[in-house]
Symmetry: C2
Subunit: 232 residues, 2 copies
């Protein structure tokens, strides 16, 4: 397998970064190829703008998705976007590695999605969910957070973590056609002992060693909806 | 009222920008003071990093939330963050104005939250939800998207839009103590007629003219949970 890890933590010594390193080591030991986009190290620009295109189809009015479609046909993306697109195209498995910031991804990772998941290639027209442009590829989140696991779920203080992750897991990855594997979630990380962190690293190693046995999350099949996306 | 509109669209001529202008005009006509943070126009930096602090408490290991708490006590935030914090402190109502990118906010707005909603002031310890640092203030989303409204809700192709918005409405605004008013959502915007857009502008004007009559969204009260945040 070719594996792309997109990593978004400003501190190399962080536990989130240790999980990323553990993933790389484990996958390489299993014989896979691992590529890493370390967004902070790359100083990745997360702001979608007209500078993302080498030429504009409609210079007097920026419709970002339409410019993406144009740029995809004409091979006119800025170099940083083109490079990331090709990494995703090479990958069989995409891992997003991040600390949960405000119950979502840090802005630098949100911007990687905004700019790299381009219309025309990742989705477009009726090509989404199980017909999305990235069908055949897998994706998985690996995230750390400060909250405890008992704070998430039905009838808890914060409610189901799946709701917070739905923008990424459903609205982004599944929408673009990825098969989404269960996330690895490391709770309460800033407050736990060295031993507890070591156990999390071992748990993560098991999680990714047994990827084949993980049951993918379930999302809609377009076949169950009509042309206007009403349920059949 | 003092109203802060944080706006995140790269195109001034966009319908999202027209909604922002409509909000400003309407609120000013009603006698309110309106301040606008137009993030694209400001070239706002959305990437949380050690550069956000004029001095670091722990220079050899970046713990972003801990540095925020330190910087809050010592008045050591970078100037752009300090300016935005003061705008929020002045505001009685915060409006986030954005196009939905990948079922969430554009990266430039996510980064405004990541960097401005600082630990120590917006939350900290047991100060969250109805005890959050911004209690007494209101907040509201105004967003545009391409999808149709029948594509969202229970048993629809995309599921409830509230799930996608929960990172912002619950995990961010409500968590920080804001009373969250029902969002204004403009569906299918890139595909609708000029007349349909004019109707949306009128609908939005009604929405914000009758803010007092809008029932705030409901979120947990800390009084219903014990010290460890288990439900009582």
């Amino acid at each position: 397998m070719n594996i792309l890890i997109v990593h978004a933590h400003p501190e190399n010594l962080s536990f989130t970064s240790a999980l990323k390193d553990k993933a790389q080591q484990t996958f390489e030991k299993l014989g896979h190829n691992v590529e890493i986009s370390d967004l902070y190290a790359m100083n990745f620009n997360p702001v979608a703008s007209q500078d993302d295109f080498q030429s504009l189809n409609q210079p007097d009015y920026l419709n970002y998705a339409l410019e993406q479609r144009h740029a995809f046909k004409q091979h006119q993306f800025s170099q940083d976007i083109q490079t990331e697109i090709e990494k995703v195209q090479r990958a069989d498995l995409l891992i997003l590695s991040f600390p949960l910031y405000w119950t979502s991804v840090p802005a630098i990772l949100k911007g990687w999605i905004d700019r790299v998941f381009v219309s025309g290639l990742f989705y477009g027209g009726k090509r989404f969910y199980n017909h999305g442009g990235m069908r055949g590829k897998k994706a998985m989140l690996c995230l750390t957070l400060g909250g405890r696991d008992h704070m998430f779920g039905e009838n808890t203080i914060h409610g189901p973590i799946e709701h917070y992750l739905s923008s990424i897991q459903r609205g982004t990855l599944a929408y673009a056609g990825f098969e989404v594997l269960p996330p690895f979630i490391a709770y309460h990380v800033p407050y736990i002992s060295h031993e507890a962190r070591q156990k999390l690293l071992t748990d993560f190693e098991s999680h990714i060693t047994q990827l084949d046995q993980l049951k993918a999350l379930e999302f809609p099949l377009l076949e169950n909806f009509d042309d206007k996306m009403h349920p059949l």
